[in-house]
């Protein structure tokens, strides 16, 4: 069997509702590591993983796929920035091809998962941190985001 996007979403939800902070699951050589709160701990990279990381070997050509620079923080008090809780590769969906966690216009709660940040094959969930409606998505899928970089904005009005 393989893990589907729906499975991962389901497992993520189960972890969220549980009293645990992290989950390591291995099914038929597919390893899934989930951690609450965007923290990360050093772990040996394990392959294969539930998603194929775009960790292509460095080539001079694949240069500067630099993330969109962090636009100035919105001055509107009703608009909240959702910052990257750590540096890593940002994913909008639980798996390539799966529907994104959120789209512009999606309603979110503070605890709603809005993306994943991968650090050396370890998946860290990103939460909205505030309730409201997603007004802007700045970070691109599969691209390196810096610590503190604004991933998206949520209107709270």
């Amino acid at each position: 069997m393989t893990l589907t996007a729906k499975d991962v979403a389901e497992i993520t939800k189960l972890l969220e509702e549980s009293s645990f902070d992290e989950l390591d699951l291995e099914i038929d050589g597919v390893k899934l590591s989930l951690r609450r709160g965007g923290g990360s701990k050093p772990t040996a990279p394990t392959a294969p993983t539930a998603r194929t990381a775009p960790a292509s070997p460095p080539t001079g050509v694949a240069a500067h796929s630099s993330p969109a620079r962090v636009p100035a923080t919105s001055l509107d008090p009703n608009v909240h920035d959702v910052p990257a809780p750590l540096l890593g590769t940002f994913y909008r969906a639980p798996k390539p091809g799966a529907p994104p966690f959120v789209e512009i216009g999606s309603t979110v709660q503070a605890e709603t998962v809005v993306g994943i940040i991968e650090v050396m094959k370890l998946m860290n969930t990103v939460r909205a941190g505030v309730s409201g409606r997603v007004t802007e998505i700045l970070a691109r899928d599969g691209v390196l985001v810096e610590y503190g970089e604004t991933l998206m904005r949520v209107g709270t009005a």
Partner: protein, 454 residues
């Protein structure tokens, strides 16, 4: 041979700026991995790009191996330069780089492990016919007692996983040994995650002399002379110079050869330093440890050899091997370095972080200043207090010393306390001017100054 076109600089402060400068000269792009506290630093402005890797606390940024490697992969860097401190001697980073196909600019993970374990390094030294301080491992209290009786007092209890003076206890009376063993072991366990300790004879009057080596990783090693780093306060080096003054030529030659032999035994790759303790009373020298990284004090060696050590590190990492032969290394004149720290000599050298409102560094013939501090720079409390290194080079020691004294007097820092007054005193001291001081010099100097100032 893999050409390195882009380097992730995984460090901060003056060494980050120094690495970036060589990369620029070589036409290599740099990406600085910076914490939140260093986003507006001078290195961040010098680098082609800066990425923020985490909060100010080192444990959440500069010490995160996974984050550093992910950052290198994310920006498509070919190599990581770890600088000194932080992750520079963590085998875990070298290993993850090896696994991920990122070049680690430094030795192999196995070499880092070999020298990181002090007992293993001692064994390697003995195997390379390099003298070690009389002493050894102790498994039981009984074994410790009998070894201590043979060595005599004073002696040192040292942590196998320690370094830089941490996890070290001096024993002056044999009856104090059990307590010192217990204390050192529990401290070592807490600080290094390794409670093993060993005993060494304490050399009453010792000089710290180290040999700069570079190796191609295939067994060829050359040295670039030695450095004397005996001006230390609590094992923190303050003034370093090359060549080591007043060393008997036979001792100088044998130390250099021993450093090369040790690195050869490991088939060492890259730049490294083999540290020795010179026993002044016995005219003998002993292996202390090897530092598997670029050292803070490397500029004095660069001054007298004309070799860019960071450039050689990069060339070796690319697979170019050694571009120099031993005979091609010429040592010209003398170079002395002062480490300018943001710490207050009047308050027992307490670190003095803060904002530098105004700074002016010296310049002139034979003067080099490696720094990341400009007017307006902040010195965050999270990191070490090194602000700058002032290096003077001259045709001989008196000339280098005269230039350095002038340069130290000309340096001006407003906003934070610095140890500049200490350096002015040390350089003016007759004992230092005579050359060849032992590691007790700073304590003696401070005692003399206290007497003078009442």
């Amino acid at each position: 041979m893999a050409a390195i076109r882009r380097i992730l600089v995984a460090n901060r402060g003056e060494i980050a700026a120094r690495i970036i400068r060589t990369c620029r000269a070589l036409g290599i792009e740099t990406v600085l991995a910076a914490s939140v506290a260093d986003r507006d630093s001078l290195p961040a402005r010098l680098a082609d790009r800066t990425i923020c890797i985490g909060p100010a606390r080192p444990a959440e940024s500069y010490l995160k191996i996974d984050t550093i490697v992910q950052a290198a992969l994310g920006v498509a860097a070919h190599a990581i330069h770890p600088g000194y401190g932080f992750l520079s001697e963590r085998a875990g980073l070298a290993r993850l780089c090896e696994e991920q196909g990122v070049i680690f600019i430094g030795p192999t993970a196995a070499q880092i492990e070999a020298v990181g374990d002090k007992l293993r390094a001692r064994a390697e030294a003995e195997a390379a016919s390099v003298p070690v301080v009389p002493g050894g491992a102790v498994d039981t209290a009984e074994a410790a007692k009998s070894l201590a009786r043979r060595l005599g007092v004073p002696l040192l209890v040292k942590a196998v996983g320690g370094g830089g003076g941490r996890g070290m206890k001096r024993v002056d009376r044999l009856e104090d040994l059990p307590h010192a063993l217990e204390l050192a072991s529990s401290e070592a366990g807490a600080a290094f995650g390794d409670a093993r300790v060993y005993l060494e004879r304490f050399v009453t009057r010792g000089r710290h002399v180290e040999v700069q080596v570079i190796g191609d990783g295939a067994g060829r090693v050359i040295h670039l002379g030695e450095r004397d780093c005996s001006v230390q306060r609590r094992y923190q080096k303050l003034i370093e110079e090359t060549p080591a003054p007043g060393l008997a030529e036979s001792v100088r030659r044998r130390i250099r050869e021993a450093g090369v032999r040790f690195a050869e035994r490991l088939a060492y790759r890259g730049a490294g330093t083999v540290e020795f303790l010179v026993d002044v009373e016995r005219d003998a020298f002993y292996f202390l440890e090897m530092n598997a990284r670029i050292q803070v004090e490397h500029p004095v060696t660069e001054a007298v050899t004309g070799v860019d050590l960071v450039g050689e590190q990069i060339a070796i990492a690319e697979g170019a091997g050694l571009r120099l032969s031993q005979r091609g290394v010429r040592l010209r004149g003398c170079a002395i370095e002062c480490r300018i720290n943001a710490e207050d000599p009047a308050r027992d050298f307490q670190p003095a972080p803060g904002r530098v409102t105004e700074v002016s560094w010296p310049a002139g013939a034979g003067i080099r200043v490696d720094t990341h501090i400009e007017s307006g720079s902040s010195i965050p409390p999270f990191y070490d207090s090194l602000m700058a290194k002032i290096i003077a080079h001259g045709p001989d020691r008196p000339a280098a010393l005269a230039r350095l004294r002038e340069a130290v007097a000309a340096a001006r820092v407003v906003g934070v306390a610095t140890n500049l007054p200490f350096h002015a005193q040390a350089l003016a001291d007759t004992e230092f001017q005579a050359g060849g001081v032992d590691t007790g010099f700073v304590a003696r100097l401070l005692a003399r100054e206290n007497v003078r100032h009442g």
